[in-house]
Each structure stands twice: as structure tokens, then as C-alpha cells.
């Protein structure tokens, strides 16, 4: 799975706890937790559930949108 295949999201690595809450909640398996790095792929349908489920607010839309 290529890293940053999708440019839509930014992960704040100073917040991310590598807990996998976003991975397990993703309805289309667009996120992969590679040890401590979240990788998004183009399965993503932009439902943004990952942003909402993240307990610490580590996932944002890219460019502060």
C-alpha cells in the first residue's frame, strides 16, 4: 500500500496515538496503520468518519479545509 496515496488528509503525528480507532471505523478500508504511520488509500469516499472517531483529533482535512 503506497503511503500518502491520497492527499485529502493530514495526520498530526504529535497527536496520533496509533490506536487504530480510525482504521477499524473506516467503512471502506481506506486506512492502514503501518506500525505508527497512518496510510490512506484511494478507496476513500470522503465520509470523514475517521476525523470524527479519532479520540484526540489527529486527523484533519489537508490544507486546513
Amino acid at each position: 500500500m503506497a503511503k500518502n496515496e491520497l492527499d485529502e488528509f493530514e495526520v498530526d503525528i504529535t497527536r496520533c496515538m496509533h490506536c487504530g480507532a480510525c482504521v477499524g471505523s473506516c467503512p471502506v478500508n481506506a486506512i492502514y496503520l503501518n506500525e505508527v504511520v497512518l496510510e490512506f488509500n484511494d478507496n476513500c469516499n470522503m465520509c470523514k468518519r475517521c476525523i470524527k472517531v479519532c479520540p484526540v483529533g489527529a486527523i484533519k482535512l489537508a490544507g486546513g479545509r
Binding site: M17, S25, V56
Partner: protein
């Protein structure tokens, strides 16, 4: 010739218990763990009861148990507590584990039973022949390898990939997801003889837990139903706000931060396929009321291990053969999971006012057992109006 009969992905309680029982039953087992240490970092509130441990063959050592409590307090939004003794309190009360040691203990049991174990090894895909799973592709300490086996076991937790790769539907509706955050908080003044469950709008669609780890330290966390979240990072904010509002916790400092999500869903339709089975959180076997997963995982894992032993002897890891696991774990867990899911669907709709009345009523009438059903029945006796929405459940 496959190297192993069974390859288990994930060395948490579900994985280790499956490994142990499969190895004991004669299977050649490999368990892989992506992390560099089993049991760490902890992603758990660590509260369990004692009642189920014997039935799955777990003998705890001193280090695995951080603390023992006398019971639970269910706390209404207005602060009124309803106390339950350990015996009545159900699956999540009695012991507060130290998962760093507990998970290693279970992994040791698996190894003693004959299982192989490697760390820093992630599953990155499944090997298939048609729809049949024939092995797993792993990245092990920098090297990519294919491992052939009779059956792959997905014990890879909430974020399970194995099930998805095998086209087993483990997807969750937003109302069946709870987002959680927890501190190990020290320098606090708590009633360390009780685990606390605090209900109401302070944790919408979930609850706040305080599980003591010693006299002045506890796991203090909360879970909120995904459908009740609006803004990013809200879960942590809810917990920070609660801690500041509770004079017992206000001066506390965090020794550890834990985040994660748990499923609070009805049992999923299918947890097996040709050459594949799922167990534990990856099979969505978590109790939808408490969010507790360890007991259920271990119970299902014992069934899985024994079935895999039989399948090994018969050289048959087909879906039909593994159907014995599907039936076996459902015989033990399915009714309870379904009932608790229905109860959860109702409980999340109750207002703080109603919850206050419910706790007050429980204090008046008492309850013999901490099950959703027993509680509703107890309330019905005194205040049928409070439980009229639960009629189908009763």
C-alpha cells in the same frame, strides 16, 4: 507442504488463547505480533471479573493483577451511587488487570503449549487460491515472506485487516462504534474498593469509568457513541472536562494516555470462511453494554483453538469444518451479545433525568444480578413508566 496448520495474527488475549488451545489440541501453530512487545502499549480499561477465568484455563500470576475490588458503583448523572457486590456486578468487575503482564502470561501459556511466536511481524495480506485462504503474507523485521498454512486466524483487534482481506463483513454502523480515551491518573482520592461507572450526558451514549490500579491511581476513561460526537478531539475534551469537575480527580496527573475505539454492535453474520476464522475484537465479540472484550474473546478463543485442533487432525480447514467454531462461540455468546445490543440501543436514548430515576429506583428495590434484563425487571416492579420503552425487551 504448509509450514504450519494455523497462523494467528495478533498476540492479544484472543490470539494467545486460540494459540494455546490449538497447540494443546495438536495443531502446529505460529502466532505473529506486529508490535515489539506483547501487551504494550495498553489499550484497555483493564477491569474484568474472576468468574470466567477457570472455564478457559487461565491461572493468573501476581503481576497480572494490579488490584482487586469489592464491587461496582453505578453512578447516576446527579451523583447518586448504586452499589453492587462483585458477585452481582457481571463481566467487568472484580479484578483490575495489568495488561502488560497479563498479555505476556497468556502468550507464555501459548508457547508452553507448543506454539511458535514472532514479534515485529505484521500481516500485510492473505494468500488465496480462489476464495480459499491458503496462508498469509507477512513483513517480519524488514523481510517480506509468504507463510502457507491450513487456517489463518484474525485476532488483530478492532482495526482488523484479516477479516476484510478475506471478504468477511466486519463493517460497523456509526451507532455501533464507541470512541474512547483514558488516562492512568495518579495522585487522586478515590474509593479504591470499587470500580465506578458514571452514566449520563457527561459521556453521551457511553459512560465514564474509574477502575483503581492502587490506592491513589486509577484508569479513568470514557467512551462516547460515534453518532453523538460532533467536533474533532471531543472525546479527550469530554474526559478532561469531567476530571476537572470531580474534586477527587482534579489534582490527578496522567501516567499514561490510552485511546481507541470499541465495537458495540449486534453479533455479525459470519466469522469464518475457507481457511480463515476471526476471534475477539476482530470478530466483534465485545459486550455492547460494557465495551468489555477480554472475557468474551477468551471464551471464543478456546472454542476456536479446540476446533482448529480437530480440523488439523482431519486435515480439513474448509468453511464447513470451521462451522463448528461458528456454532460453538455463538452457543456461548450470541444471545447475550444480541440482548445487550438491544438494551444498549435503548439505554443510549435515556435522558439524565430518567437515569437519575432509574438509579434511585434500583436503590429502593435492589437487584439480584447486574444484567440489563435484571435491572429493567427490577425497575418495572416499581416504576413501569420508566421502562415502557423497553417492553419488547422485557
Amino acid at each position: 507442504m504448509p509450514e504450519y496448520d494455523v497462523v494467528i495474527v495478533g498476540a492479544g488475549p484472543a490470539g494467545s488463547m486460540t494459540a494455546k488451545w490449538a497447540a494443546k489440541s495438536g495443531a502446529k501453530v505460529l502466532m505473529i505480533e506486529k508490535r515489539q512487545e506483547i501487551g504494550s502499549p495498553v489499550r484497555c480499561g483493564e477491569g474484568v471479573s474472576r468468574s470466567w477465568l477457570d472455564s478457559v484455563g487461565i491461572k493468573l500470576d501476581a503481576k497480572s493483577v494490579a488490584w482487586q475490588v469489592k464491587g461496582a458503583k453505578i453512578i447516576a448523572p446527579n451523583g447518586t451511587a448504586f452499589r453492587l457486590s462483585e458477585k452481582m456486578a457481571g463481566n467487568e468487575v472484580g479484578l483490575v488487570l495489568d495488561r502488560v503482564f497479563f498479555d505476556k502470561l497468556l502468550a507464555r501459556d501459548a508457547v508452553k503449549a507448543g506454539a511458535d511466536l514472532v514479534l515485529k511481524t505484521s500481516a500485510i495480506g492473505l494468500l488465496k487460491s480462489g476464495n480459499k485462504v491458503t496462508g498469509v503474507k507477512v513483513k517480519s523485521f524488514g523481510e517480506t515472506k509468504d507463510i502457507k498454512c491450513g487456517c489463518v486466524v484474525g485476532a488483530d483487534g478492532y482495526e482488523s485487516q484479516v477479516g476484510r482481506w478475506a471478504d468477511i463483513n466486519t463493517s460497523l454502523a456509526p451507532r455501533d462504534i464507541t470512541s474512547c480515551f483514558q488516562y492512568r491518573l495518579t495522585n487522586i482520592q478515590i474509593d479504591y474498593d470499587y470500580c465506578e461507572f458514571i452514566l449520563g450526558a457527561k459521556a453521551p451514549g457511553g459512560y465514564i469509568w474509574i477502575f483503581p490500579k492502587n490506592q491513589d491511581t486509577a484508569n479513568v476513561g470514557l467512551g462516547i457513541q460515534l453518532t453523538k460526537l460532533k467536533d474533532p478531539a471531543e472525546v479527550k475534551k469530554y474526559l478532561d472536562k469531567y476530571i476537572q469537575s470531580d474534586p477527587r480527580l482534579k489534582k490527578g496527573k496522567a501516567l499514561e494516555m490510552v485511546s481507541g475505539a470499541v465495537s458495540i454492535c449486534a453479533p455479525i453474520d459470519k466469522t469464518i470462511g475457507d481457511g480463515i476464522l476471526l476471534v475477539g475484537d476482530s470478530a466483534r465479540q465485545i459486550d455492547p453494554i460494557t465495551g468489555g472484550g477480554i472475557a468474551n474473546s477468551c471464551k471464543a478463543a478456546k472454542v476456536a483453538g479446540e476446533v482448529l485442533g480437530k480440523a488439523t487432525k482431519e486435515r480439513d480447514f474448509s468453511e464447513r469444518s470451521l462451522q463448528r467454531y461458528e456454532k460453538g462461540w455463538r452457543d456461548i455468546l450470541e444471545n447475550g451479545l444480541y440482548r445487550n445490543w438491544m438494551a444498549k440501543e435503548k439505554l443510549v436514548t435515556l435522558s439524565d433525568d430518567t437515569l437519575n430515576k432509574v438509579i434511585a429506583t434500583l436503590n429502593e428495590v435492589g437487584v439480584e444480578k447486574m444484567s440489563a434484563y435484571a435491572i429493567l425487571k427490577a425497575i418495572e416492579k416499581k416504576h413501569p413508566d420508566l421502562v415502557k420503552d423497553f417492553q419488547e425487551f422485557l
